[in-house]
């Protein structure tokens, strides 16, 4: 997360890292890149979060979870939802990408490759089970709008692919 717009006070980082994404519990919201700023003003933490997708139903829960985690660390907080700059999969950290893969969700490819696999049927997404690239697109939408459904033709594992979003 090298995004220059991000502004998070160092001492708040370990607290925020404990909050996980309700839809992908292995992933912290920090690794997902949805926390854009967290600064302490007059003893109150002002947090700005941004949704991954406009219709992300997890945002209310994420807001509440952040409030709760900060409260346990004796901080009061205000949560604000911001839309700009718009979230991109580039904000998922390397640690986040690894957590996704370990969980069974293939991490997003770059924009070019993403188009090739989703539109041209190119086999480039690595199977999360056996690492084979002999994988086939089943559906452009998976269990949530941010994912597509793939199937490995070597080990036959069906799995989700996190689509590139930028």
């Amino acid at each position: 997360m090298l995004e220059e717009d991000q502004n998070i006070e160092t001492r708040l980082i370990p607290i925020l890292e404990q909050v996980s994404d309700p839809e992908i519990p292995v992933l912290s919201i920090m690794d997902m890149g949805v926390v854009r700023s967290a600064i302490i003003e007059n003893g109150i933490v002002q947090v700005q979060i941004t949704p991954t997708y406009s219709g992300c139903p997890a945002m209310d829960v994420i807001g509440e979870d952040i409030k709760k985690a900060l409260k346990e660390a004796n901080y009061e907080s205000n949560i604000e939802l911001i839309l700009a700059p718009a979230w991109t999969t580039d904000w998922i950290t390397p640690r986040g990408r690894k957590a996704l893969e370990d969980y069974g969700i293939a991490a997003p490819l770059d924009a070019e490759a993403d188009k090739a696999v989703l539109l041209k049927g190119k086999r480039m997404v690595k199977c999360t089970n056996c690492s084979s690239q002999n994988t086939k697109l089943i559906s452009q939408f998976g269990s949530t709008a941010c994912k597509a459904q793939f199937k490995c033709e070597d080990c036959l594992e069906p799995f989700d692919y996190f689509k590139c979003f930028k």
Binding site: P51, Y53, S54, G55, C56, P57, L83, A84, P85, A86, W87, L118, L119, I138, S139, Q140, F141, G142, S143, T144, A145, Q149, K163, F165, K166
Partner: protein, 250 residues
């Protein structure tokens, strides 16, 4: 209140609300699990976008108006969506044709709205266009699959395109509010999108081995609140809970 801006926002948002309601109603009724999931995911994206627009509109309106008041408590004539998005799901071909004809427009529209001088509208456009580019891929892909598929799928999608074609011209119609918003560099001059739109749409139809409809007569009215008979039924579903149990929450 900025009345023109308020109405302009509703004009954009109502398209997403009504199309989202149409697609959401397919939950559990899609022809296959994958298309079912796709339609409902598209619906969810559209509802997410609608919330952003209505929250902004509610702020402009003041008087403790909420996004829900705007979504649920207007009368039929106070919705300004285009007629295209309220057309029924006669069969899967109609669902795909409607989505394709709207997505192709939606993508061009949002591309321009990103440049709006209104920072909230520009931010919503920048966010939404990423989602809409996936919708457009999905519906264009299906147009080709059905068009270039079996004899029956070809016939059905051709019929759906022919039937819905009459609603495409309205996408490029401007109301008085639209014109004022364009002048203030807030709104998009949709008249300038028309040529690119038909070029893009015709290109995909050709690829799908489909004929481009020749219809010269076009329906309009939605942008002025005059709707086809379908909207009333959609709204009675959409508004049922808030009308029956005012202010209910869950």
């Amino acid at each position: 209140m900025k009345q023109n801006l308020y109405k302009y926002i509703l004009g954009i948002a109502d398209n997403s609300l009504i199309l989202g309601q149409r697609m959401g109603a397919l939950t559990g009724h899609g022809p296959s699990l994958e298309t079912d999931i796709a339609c409902t995911n598209i619906s969810l994206d559209l509802f997410g976008q609608v919330r952003n627009y209505y929250q902004y509109a509610a702020k402009l309106k003041g008087d403790n108006t909420t996004e829900d008041d705007i979504a649920f408590l207007r009368k039929e004539r106070e919705y300004f969506n285009v007629l295209l998005v309220e057309q029924p799901d006669t069969n899967f071909a109609y669902t795909i044709a409607r989505q394709f004809l709207f997505d192709s427009y939606h993508f061009l529209f949002l591309t321009e709205l990103q440049k709006s001088y209104d920072i909230t509208l520009s931010a919503i456009a920048k966010k939404s266009i990423k989602e809409v580019s996936y919708h457009k891929r999905f519906s264009s892909d299906w147009i080709k699959r059905l068009g270039d598929g079996t004899e029956i799928s070809h016939e059905n999608i051709q019929e759906a395109i022919n039937e819905l074609w009459t609603y495409t011209d309205e996408l490029f119609h401007q109301t008085e509010e639209d014109k004022i918003m364009v002048k203030e560099n807030i709104g998009v001059d949709v008249t300038r999108l028309k040529e690119v739109y038909y070029d893009a749409v015709n290109g995909i139809l050709k690829e799908a081995t489909l004929d481009i409809p020749e219809s010269k007569w076009f329906q309009k009215g939605g942008k002025h609140g005059i709707h086809t008979e379908h909207l009333g039924y959609i709204l009675s579903d959409l508004q049922y809970m808030q009308r029956t149990y005012p202010n209910m929450e869950w």
